[in-house]
């Protein structure tokens, strides 16, 4: 079956540094990818998305990169702030008739002051 995985369960960065969170997926036909942020005690919050016809998309302080060749996507957070501390999930939409979102396990980002 389809799967989505993250390389690191936890990541610790210094405030002001850039953060990079990685995600790998198994189905090469997947065509839509989303990053969510989940703070403690809250539901996931949409950050940024990208479709398979793009390889890069930028938002405010965030950039998502998609490498379809190796089935890998990453979330880059510029100038990481304490408020960025959360668990980050990538979610991948299945291809064809299966349009369910498949979620990774999440990376817990900690920001050191």
């Amino acid at each position: 079956g389809e799967s989505v995985g993250l390389h690191l369960p936890t990541l610790s960065v210094q405030e002001g540094d850039n953060s990079i969170i990685n995600c790998a997926y198994s189905n090469s036909a997947s065509d839509y990818f989303i990053w969510y942020k989940q703070e403690s005690g809250k539901g996931p919050q949409f950050i940024i998305d990208i479709r398979s016809n793009m390889d890069k998309r930028q938002g405010q302080r965030v950039t998502v990169l998609l490498n379809k060749t190796v089935k890998h996507l990453s979330l880059q957070i510029a100038a990481t702030q304490p408020g960025d501390s959360a668990v980050y999930f990538c979610a991948v939409q299945g291809a064809g008739n299966n349009r369910k979102l498949i979620w990774g396990l999440g990376t817990s980002l900690g920001v050191n002051p």
Binding site: I34, K42, G43
Partner: protein, 117 residues
């Protein structure tokens, strides 16, 4: 503009009992999805409702059922509760576009934390 709301926020039940969780979607949204999130895990898709019908279902037993009302709000029912049903239950809403395609960008509520003893 109200976001997704869920009730109750917390719930404690015992094995074998039944539970009903409620969700109101974001204003303007017509599609509701339910997820189960165990501690330290990503959300697992339970099912999705649109036009008061279950449209998609994840790998969950029939003990998990749902309903969507004409105002797009939704309920998740779980019968014969097991200890393993303890989790955060998330509701997400989205908008189905013309032609039936759903925008998968979903907006989540804060969740209902269920503890089964």
């Amino acid at each position: 503009d109200a976001g997704v709301t869920q009730s109750p926020t917390h719930l404690i039940k015992t094995r074998g009992q039944q539970v009903t969780l409620r969700c109101s979607p974001k204003s303007g949204h017509d599609t509701v999805s339910w997820y189960q999130q165990a501690l330290g895990q990503g959300p697992q898709f339970i099912f999705q409702y649109y036009e008061e019908e279950e449209r998609q279902r994840g790998n969950f037993p029939d003990r998990f059922s749902g309903h969507q009302f004409p105002n797009y709000s939704s309920e998740l029912n779980v019968n014969a509760l097991l200890l393993g049903d303890s989790a955060l239950y998330l509701c997400a809403s989205s908008l189905r576009l013309a032609g039936g395609q759903v925008r998968v960008t979903q907006y989540f509520g804060p969740g209902t934390r269920l503890l089964v003893l």
